[in-house]
Amino acid sequence: MAKWSMVIDLDKCVACQGCSIACRFENNTPVVAPDQANLGRAIRWNDVFPLPVNPTEETGEYPDVKSQYMTRPCMHCENPPCIKVCPVGATIINEEGIVEQNYARCIGCRFCTVGCPYGVRYFNWYKPSWEPPLDQHLTPDRVEGKGVLEGPVVRPAGVVEKCTYCIHRLKKARAQAEAEAREFRADDYVPACVQTCTGKARFFGDLDDPESTVSQLAKNSRSFRLLEDEGTHPKTIYLREG
C-alpha cells in the first residue's frame, strides 16, 4: 500500500497561488462575495498566506520586513486530531494515509474544524453557488459509494470539506491502469496543485517507497513540518527556504 505524501520546496515557491486556483477548479470549491470572505467564509482547500500568520514585533514594518510565504494544503497527518473527535466517522484516514471527508455523513458539528490546529477544514455556511458562466465549468467527477460522498462533487450546505489530495484522480488513475491491464504505479497520479505548480516546487509520491522523490526529499536537512511539536506527524512536508 502506498503512503501518499507531498513535499513543498519553499525555495522554489513563487507564491503565485496557481495551486489555489487549480485546486478551486479541480475540486469545485465555491466562490464567495468579498463581504462573506471578510467574515472568514472563503473556502480555500489550498491556501497561500504569509508566515508568521499574525504580524509580530519580529516581522518588522514596511519596508523593513522579514516575511515568508507559505502554501498550505491539508497536512494529511498520520495522527490526525480531526478524525479522533468526529462523532459519526464522517472523516477517516484511509489505508493509504489520505484523510477523507464524507459529505453524506457529516452532521456539521464543526468539532473537526476546531480540532484541526492547521485550520485546513472549511464549513459550508450556505448552499454553494457559482455565478454564470462559472457554473458551466464544474468538474463532473464524483467519488460516490454506499453512503459515501467525497471528492469534487458539489457539497450540500452545513457540512465540512477539506483537501483530499485529489482522491478522485487517484481513483481514476487506478481505473485507467486496470483498463490498460498493467500494474498501477505511484507516478500515475498527482493532485492538481502539484501538476500546475509554476516553480515546480511541489513533489508528490509514495513515502513508503524509499527510492521515491518524496522519501528522498523528506530526509533532506531542509525538511520540516508545520507545528511539528504538536505530535500530529503531517505527511505534507516542507523544505525550508534559503
Binding site: 472568514g40 473527535v85 452532521i107 476546531v114 492547521y118 465540512v160
Partner: protein
C-alpha cells in the same frame, strides 16, 4: 384518601387552582412572543444555512456553545445540590429541593437544544446513534447529557408522586375535570401504603447516589470537548474540575434567584426561611473561593509558560480586546464574594464610623467612581490630547486603584443595608455570579477560537440571529419554569410534613444541660 394540614392546602395547593392573574398572563405572553421570535429565526437559519450567524473561519464555535456550557452549568443547581443534601441528610433542604430539581430539568432541555441549534445538519441527528463513534468526546457528551436528563426527570418525578396523590385527594370543588385526570394519572396509583413508602424511599435514595457521578461527568465531558483539542488555552488538564465547580457555583446562583422569586410570588416566607439562605450561602461562598482558586491556577500556567500560541490568549484577556469581559467577570465574582462574606460579619452598631454607612457616603463614592470610569473609558475611546495624560502608565494605574477603592467604599457604605436585607443581598450576589459565569464561558470559548495557531486572528460579533436565539432560550427557560409551578406545588408537601415529624421527634430528645465550670484537674479528676 390522603390527609394534609389545612395550612399546606391553603399555601401550596390552592394557588395552583387560583385563576391566572394579570401579571402571570402578561409575562407569559411576553416570554412566549420572544420564544416564537427565536423559533422563527431558528427555522430561517435551518433553511438559509448557518451563514446567518456571525461565525466564520476560524470562529467555528461561538455564542451557541457559550450558552450550551452556561445552561448545562445552571442545571447543576438542582439535582446535584438536592442529591448531595439528601445523601448527607441535611434537613434544611426540604423546602427547596423541588425548585432545584425543576431548574435542572429545564436548564438541561434548553442547554442541549443549543447544541442542536448549532448543528449544521440537524436532519442528520440520527447519525449520532446509527454511526456514533464512542471515541469522540461529543458522543460521551450525548450519552452523559441524555443520561443526566433522564435521571433528572426521574429524580424530579419520584418525589412528585406522593404530592400528586395528595392533590388528587384534596382537589378544590371547583377544580376543572382535566386537572383531576391529570393528577390522577401522574400519581400512578399512589395510596401511601407502607410498602409504597419504602419503595419510594429506596428509589429516591438510589437515584440521589446515582445522579451525583452523572452530574459530575456531564460538565467534565463538556470541558473535555475543549481540552481534547490542541487549541491554545483549552488544552488544559484543570478544565474538568474547573468546569464542574463553575457549574455548581452558577447553579447555586440560579437556585437562589428562583427560590426567592417563588418565595415572593407565592408568599412562602414561612417555609423558605433564613436558614436556607444561610446554609446554601455558605456553600455559595465556598464555591466562590474555589472558583477563584481554579481561575488563578488555570491562568498561572499560561502566564509562566509564555508559549508562542498560549500566551496571546492570556494577554488579550488580561489587557487586550477581551479585558473588559474578563475583568467584568472578576469584578462580578469579587463583589458577590464581598456581599456574601463581609456584611454578616459587621457588628450591629458601629458608632465611631457611622458616617461610612450613611447614604451620603455611598452617593459620594458612586459619583467619584463614575467619574473615574468615564475618564478611563473616554481616554481609551478618543484621541483627545487633553485626555492623553491618562494614557501614562503611572496615571492610569493610580486612576484604576482609586476606582477600585471607590467601588470598595460603595460596598462598604451599603454593608449595613446588606446586613439588614440578607435575602435581597443574596439575590444581588446571585445575579452577579450568574452574569459572571456566562462571561466566564465567553472568555473561555471566544478568545481561543479567534486566536488560533495558523489562521490570522479574527474578531467575532454575534449576529442578530444568535442574540435573539440566546434571549429566546432564556425566555423559554423562564416560561417552562412559570408553567411548571402553575401545575405542580412549589414545595414537596410530603417532605415538609416528614421534616415536621422529624423535628418534633428531635425536640423530645433531652439534651443534658451544660455543667457549670468547676475547677477540675486534667482528665476530669478532682
Amino acid at each position: 384518601m390522603l390527609q394534609i394540614d389545612r395550612e399546606y392546602k391553603e399555601k401550596l395547593i390552592d394557588p395552583l387552582f387560583a385563576p391566572l392573574d394579570r401579571g402571570f398572563k402578561l409575562s407569559a405572553a411576553v416570554l412566549l412572543a420572544i420564544v416564537l421570535w427565536g423559533a422563527f429565526l431558528y427555522i430561517r437559519q435551518v433553511v438559509v444555512g448557518l451563514g446567518v450567524t456571525g461565525m466564520g473561519r476560524p470562529v467555528y464555535w461561538s455564542m451557541y456553545i457559550v450558552n450550551f456550557i452556561f445552561f448545562i452549568g445552571i442545571s447543576h443547581a438542582g439535582t446535584l445540590i438536592s442529591a448531595i443534601l439528601r445523601v448527607t441528610g441535611a434537613e434544611w433542604r426540604r423546602p427547596i429541593t423541588r425548585v432545584a430539581e425543576a431548574i435542572t430539568v429545564f436548564a438541561l432541555i434548553v442547554g442541549s437544544m443549543q447544541i442542536l441549534i448549532d448543528m449544521g445538519r440537524i436532519d442528520r441527528l440520527p447519525f449520532t446513534v446509527i454511526f456514533g463513534r464512542l471515541q469522540s468526546p461529543i458522543m460521551w457528551d450525548i450519552i452523559s447529557v441524555t443520561l443526566y436528563l433522564l435521571g433528572s426527570v426521574t429524580y424530579l418525578f419520584l418525589p412528585l408522586m406522593p404530592d400528586m396523590a395528595i392533590i388528587r385527594d384534596n382537589l378544590p370543588e371547583d377544580a376543572p375535570k382535566w386537572r383531576q385526570i391529570f393528577y390522577t394519572i401522574l400519581s400512578l396509583g399512589w395510596r401511601g401504603t407502607k410498602r409504597q413508602w419504602l419503595r419510594l424511599e429506596k428509589a429516591i435514595a438510589f437515584m440521589a447516589v446515582f445522579i451525583i457521578p452523572v452530574a459530575v461527568s456531564v460538565h467534565s465531558i463538556i470541558s473535555w470537548i475543549l481540552a481534547s483539542t490542541l487549541q491554545p488555552g483549552w488544552h488544559s488538564t484543570i478544565f474538568g474540575p474547573y468546569f464542574v465547580i463553575g457549574a455548581i457555583f452558577s447553579g447555586i446562583g440560579a437556585l437562589f434567584i428562583a427560590m426567592t422569586a417563588i418565595r415572593k410570588v407565592l408568599g412562602l416566607e414561612k417555609y423558605i426561611t433564613h436558614r436556607q439562605y444561610r446554609n446554601l450561602g455558605l456553600l455559595f461562598i465556598a464555591m466562590n473561593a474555589i472558583w477563584f482558586y481554579f481561575t488563578f491556577a488555570e491562568n498561572l500556567g499560561l502566564a509562566t509558560g509564555q508559549q508562542t500560541y498560549e500566551m496571546p490568549i492570556l494577554a488579550i484577556k488580561l489587557w487586550g480586546e477581551f479585558a473588559p469581559s474578563f475583568w467584568l467577570m472578576v469584578a462580578c465574582m469579587a463583589v458577590a464574594f464581598y456581599i456574601l462574606v463581609v456584611p454578616p460579619m459587621l457588628p450591629k452598631k458601629v458608632e465611631n464610623a457611622a458616617f461610612v454607612f450613611s447614604p451620603r457616603f455611598v452617593t459620594g463614592s458612586a459619583v467619584a467612581a463614575s467619574f473615574f470610569i468615564l475618564l478611563l473609558v473616554s481616554s481609551q475611546l478618543s484621541d483627545d490630547p487633553i485626555l492623553g495624560f491618562v494614557d501614562n502608565a503611572i496615571v492610569s494605574t493610580i486612576l484604576w486603584s482609586v476606582l477600585i477603592l471607590n467601588v470598595f467604599f460603595i460596598l462598604l457604605g451599603l454593608s449595613q443595608w446588606f446586613k439588614s436585607h440578607p435575602v435581597t443581598a443574596t439575590v444581588i450576589a446571585s445575579v452577579l455570579v450568574v452574569i459572571g459565569m456566562w462571561l466566564e464561558r465567553w472568555n473561555i470559548i471566544i478568545p481561543t477560537v479567534t486566536h488560533p495557531m495558523l489562521v490570522p486572528y479574527a474578531t467575532y460579533t454575534p449576529s442578530l440571529t444568535e442574540i435573539s436565539i440566546s434571549v429566546a432560550s432564556l425566555a423559554g427557560f423562564l416560561l417552562m419554569f412559570m408553567i411548571f409551578f402553575k401545575l405542580f406545588p412549589a414545595i414537596a408537601i410530603w417532605e415538609l410534613a416528614e421534616g415536621k415529624v422529624i423535628e418534633e421527634a428531635q425536640n423530645q430528645v433531652v439534651i443534658p444541660e451544660p455543667q457549670p465550670n468547676e475547677k477540675r484537674r486534667r482528665w476530669g479528676f478532682r
